[in-house]
Symmetry: C2
Subunit: 198 residues, 2 copies
């Protein structure tokens, strides 16, 4: 049986990573998609684990060749999801998680209408503001800009199939696991073993 693409988006600081870590702990069969980027490798990062690090001409060639499921240009660098590793995993029946922003997600919705899409939202504006300010060392203009981007992203949330409110990591992980269990019950992915025996 073919695996599924699971798109996870949500504003910066909403806790996507923590929720995904907990869901992966419960279901280690899930695979994380590795993005390609043109930004320089940072100390401690590993090629093919954190990102596939490629140069700009190569990235633009990937766009040209249609090798990317989605891509975006952000703060002077390209980011994108190579389709081949995702397809290889799906063919093996593995579900692949794409943690991507709303712009990338909208591209995948069109290209892969069979993908499961989940938006992770903060419980309230106050909580989002608190999380965006992080350790309190963020300049007010930067914090305002982040909040503005986050609110824009939340406005697109209704185009996702599911919305999870991250009120607690355990509860959000419960809901994401429930979505994966429910989606496994879709008729396309669940054959009834009766006809061939008749």
């Amino acid at each position: 049986m073919q695996g599924r693409i699971i798109i996870i988006s949500g504003p910066s600081g909403v806790g996507k990573g923590t929720i995904l870590k907990e869901v992966m702990r419960r279901d280690p069969s899930l695979r994380f998609s590795v993005s390609a980027t043109t930004r320089p490798i940072r100390p401690g990062e590993v090629e093919g684990v954190n990102y596939y690090f490629v140069d700009k001409p190569r990235f633009e060639q990937m766009i040209e060749n249609g090798e990317l499921l989605e891509h975006a240009f952000y703060a002077g660098n390209y980011y994108g999801t190579p389709e081949k590793p995702v397809e290889d995993a799906l063919a093996q029946g593995i579900n692949v998680v794409l943690e991507i922003d709303v712009q990338g997600a909208l591209q995948v919705f069109k290209r892969r209408p069979d993908a499961i899409s989940v938006f992770i939202a903060p419980p309230s504006l106050e909580e989002l503001r608190r999380r965006l300010n992080g350790r309190g060392d963020t300049a007010p203009e930067v914090a305002d800009l982040r909040l503005h981007i986050a609110l824009q992203e939340c406005a697109i949330a209704e185009q996702y199939q599911y919305i999870i409110i991250n009120d607690s990591v355990a509860h959000a992980a419960d809901e994401l696991c429930a979505i994966l269990s429910a989606e496994a019950c879709r008729p396309q992915y669940r054959k009834i073993h009766l006809k061939e025996e008749v």
Copy 2:
């Protein structure tokens, strides 16, 4: 928030009742829809609990008036789901379970495209045959007829949103609960509390 209709179908003997009992135990907020029927009341049955018992002219008037979400004629009697009690519960935010056959379900699909639909299938043909034969006191022709009906029903299963294989009651109940949790994450039923605060 408006409640949801949950349609549960599946062949006779597949274990719908047992699964629903377990799901209701875990989530007592669910409500069971009570059907109307023209068949005579049996000892121990209670009006408004097991069925609404009505006479044929009244039932035909209900059909005429469009008071039924679905109805069927079976073994000389009418069976149907009155819409009013379902609507009243939904308006109170209560999820309502309709345990109905595939013919009734197809009617509700059209009338209420927002309903959640779940088909419960047997794990195998052999197991279905075993369950249909029940206590071993069934005449072979009756058993064959029941099997024929069950296979016809399973052929319609792909029109449901979800299929659960009843390999064990606990597992089937887990899946039904997961479906209900996942469906509660649909954007129409989950507002993000950000905009009004801005």
